[in-house]
Chain length 346, copies 2
C-alpha cells in the first residue's frame, strides 16, 4: 500500500463498485451555506453535472463546470481521475433528485429535500430506504466491495442537524475554507425548534431524524448499507457520511462497514470526523491526494482546505492507491481531466 | 441440464445478471395491435408494473395486474418465479419510458417512441445507444453473463417494421393467440411509406431503421450488447429480440451473444423466430416452462399460445433450468406468485 493511504486497506477487493448518491435539497439553497454551485439557481444541477463529469468527462445539463466560490472546481475531477486510472465501474444513484443527469443512473425515487427550517425534510424516507435496500441486495450479488459517495449541496448542514437530533456534539466540515459554522448552527437550531425536537431526542428514532431534519441522500445510503450486508461496504465522504454511520449505528445496521475520506477532512479542526466515526464504532481510512502538486492553481488550493471532500473523492483516491497508483499519477490525471472536460457550447 | 431446456447452456454462469428494458411507444396504443394492458389508456403503465411485480411481487403504479385480452396475466409472473427460485439479481432499465415504476431502475433517458405511421419513431436513438453502452461497460466488470429481456407494448410491430427495413422477410410473433398479422403488415407498410423507405433500403443503416420505424428498447439493447463485449450476453425474448440480433448483425456488433426464448415462440407458425436468428448468425436456446401444469386456468392457456413471451420469461425460465430447478417447481412458484401478488387498494 503506498504511503499516501492510511492505514492499509486489506484484503484487496476483487470486483469493487463505486456508487455515488445524488440528491437535491432546499436547505442547500440557503445563501452562504454550501459552496456547491456558483449560485442557488444552479445548485440543483450540481449533482447531475458531477455524474456527467465522472461518467463521460463532459458537462451536459449545466452551463458550466460546478465550482466552489473560491474558484476551485468540483471534487468530481479527482473522482473521475481515480476511476479512469483504476477502471473501477461507477454508478450514480438518484434519490430525491430534481435535475437528472444525461448519463445512465439508478433511480430510487423520492422528492428533493425541504428546507429543514420550514418543514419535514424527507417525508418519504422509508420508501427511499426500502428501494435502496432492494438495489443494495442486487449489487451484493455482483460486487465484493462497494464504495458509496455523495453529491448533495448543503449536505453538511443536514448532517449537523441529524447529529444533534441523535445527541452527537461534534461539528461538521464545509466546502468553504472558512466554515460558516455559526450560520449552520443557526439553521440547525431553527430546524430542531420547528420540528419540536431537542438535542438527543431522536437517538432511538434515526429514520425520524432523517424525515424531520435530514436529506434524501441519507435513507439511500442507509438502505444500500442494509441491502449490502454480507458485502464489504465503504462510505466515501467526510462528516456527511460520518453522520450516516451515526444513523446506521442507531438503526443497528451491522456488516463490514468502514469510511474513507481525504486528509483534508482529517485535518479540518472545525469538524469532528474522527470523533463521530469512533463513536459510531467503525474504522476509517484516508487518502492524501497530494493536490498541492497540481499545475492548476484552483486545484492546488484543495490542499489549503478548500472543497476538502465530495463525490466520493477520498474513497476514489483510496481506490487509486489500492490499485498501486502513485500520488503523482493521480494528480496528473486530475489536471488532465480538468483541462480536457467538455462544456456545453454557448 | 434438465430435459425442458434446449440445448445445454454451458459453461454455467458464475455471477449472472438479469436486465429487462422497459419502454413506451405510441405504436403500442394502436387498437388491436398489442395484448399488453387491457386498454390503451393503461398501456403506458404496463412496463413499470411488470418491473414492480418482478422486484417486489406488488403492483404499485397501475390499478390492476397487467393482463392480455384472453385474460392471461403478464409473463412477469414467470420471470418473478424464476428469479425468486434462483436468486439471480435483476435490474430494470428504462429507455423512453413515460410512466416510471416505484421500484429502483436504471435510467437511460429518451422519449417514448412515436406512432411509426405518423413520424420518426426514436429520433434520439444514438443518445440512448451511447448511454446503454456506458451502462453495459460497467456491468461487464461485475457480471460474467447478462440476460437482456424487454417489456414494451406493440414491440412486435416495430420489430416487424425494422426487419422489413433491413430486408428480412420473416414474420413476427404476437401476445394474442391469433396473431393480427394483417393489421401489423398494414401499420408497417404505412410506416415505411411515411418514412420513404422500401423493404431492404436500410440494410446498411440499422440505427436509421431504429430512428425511423423502431422503438426505444432497440437502441438500449444494442448499446448494452456493445458495452458488454467480453461478457456473455443472452437476449431474452422472442421475435422482438430476434430483430435486435438482426440490427446487431448490421451494426457488426461481435461478442458472445445468443438468444433465449420459450417453446411457445418456437412453436408459433406465424412467426419466423428461427429464420431471423439463423440469418443473424447467433445460437438460440429455449425453455418449456410447462405452464399446462398450472392450477390457474389463465396461466394454463399460455401453453395454448396466449402471451408466449415477454419480460424475459424464456430467459428467466432457462436460468431456472440452469440452476437445476424442475418444471414443476417453476410452475408451482409461478402460481404462488400470481396468487399472492399485492394490488393497490381501491
Amino acid at each position: 500500500m503506498p504511503e499516501w493511504i492510511y492505514p492499509d486497506f486489506e484484503p484487496l477487493p476483487k470486483r469493487p463498485l463505486f456508487l455515488c448518491i445524488i440528491s437535491n435539497t432546499d436547505t442547500g439553497k440557503i445563501p452562504g451555506l454550501s459552496a456547491a454551485g456558483t449560485s442557488p439557481k444552479l445548485t440543483d444541477y450540481t449533482p447531475g453535472a458531477d455524474a456527467e463529469l465522472v461518467e463521460t468527462n463532459r458537462i451536459i445539463t449545466m452551463p458550466e463546470l460546478p465550482e466552489a466560490p473560491g474558484g476551485s472546481p468540483t471534487p468530481a475531477i479527482v473522482t473521475r481521475a481515480a476511476l479512469n486510472l483504476t477502471g473501477v465501474p461507477s454508478m450514480f444513484v438518484a434519490s430525491g433528485l430534481r435535475k437528472k443527469p444525461a448519463v445512465p443512473y439508478a433511480e430510487l425515487g423520492g422528492e428533493a429535500g425541504s428546507d429543514i427550517r420550514v418543514g419535514p425534510a424527507v417525508p418519504a424516507a422509508s420508501a427511499i430506504f426500502e428501494n435502496a435496500l432492494l438495489l443494495g441486495r442486487k449489487l451484493s450479488r455482483l460486487s465484493d466491495c462497494v464504495f458509496i459517495g455523495e453529491s448533495i449541496a448543503g449536505g453538511t448542514t443536514t448532517a449537523l442537524a441529524v447529529l444533534r437530533a441523535l445527541g452527537y456534539q461534534a461539528g461538521v466540515s464545509s466546502s468553504f475554507q472558512s466554515n460558516p459554522t455559526a450560520l449552520k448552527e443557526e439553521v440547525v437550531a431553527q430546524a430542531l425548534s420547528r420540528a419540536g425536537i431537542k438535542e438527543g431526542d431522536l437517538k432511538n428514532q434515526p429514520l425520524r431524524a432523517v424525515q424531520e431534519v435530514g436529506d434524501p441522500m441519507m435513507p439511500a445510503a442507509l438502505g444500500l448499507m442494509q441491502g449490502l450486508l454480507g458485502c464489504r461496504t465503504v462510505l466515501a465522504g467526510g462528516t456527511q457520511m460520518a453522520a450516516v454511520l451515526a444513523l446506521a449505528k442507531a438503526l443497528k445496521i451491522g456488516g463490514d462497514v468502514s469510511i474513507a475520506t481525504t486528509k483534508y477532512i482529517i485535518e479540518d479542526k472545525t469538524a469532528g470526523f474522527k470523533e463521530i466515526v469512533e463513536a459510531a464504532g467503525r474504522p476509517y481510512y484516508y487518502a492524501d491526494p497530494g493536490l498541492e502538486r497540481s499545475r492548476v492553481p484552483p486545484v492546488q488550493i484543495y490542499a489549503q482546505g478548500y472543497v476538502k471532500e465530495g463525490v466520493g473523492m477520498g474513497g476514489a483516491s483510496l481506490l487509486a492507491g489500492i490499485y498501486g497508483l502513485t500520488q503523482r499519477q493521480l494528480v496528473e490525471e486530475t489536471d488532465r481531466v480538468l483541462l480536457t472536460v467538455e462544456l456545453p457550447k454557448r
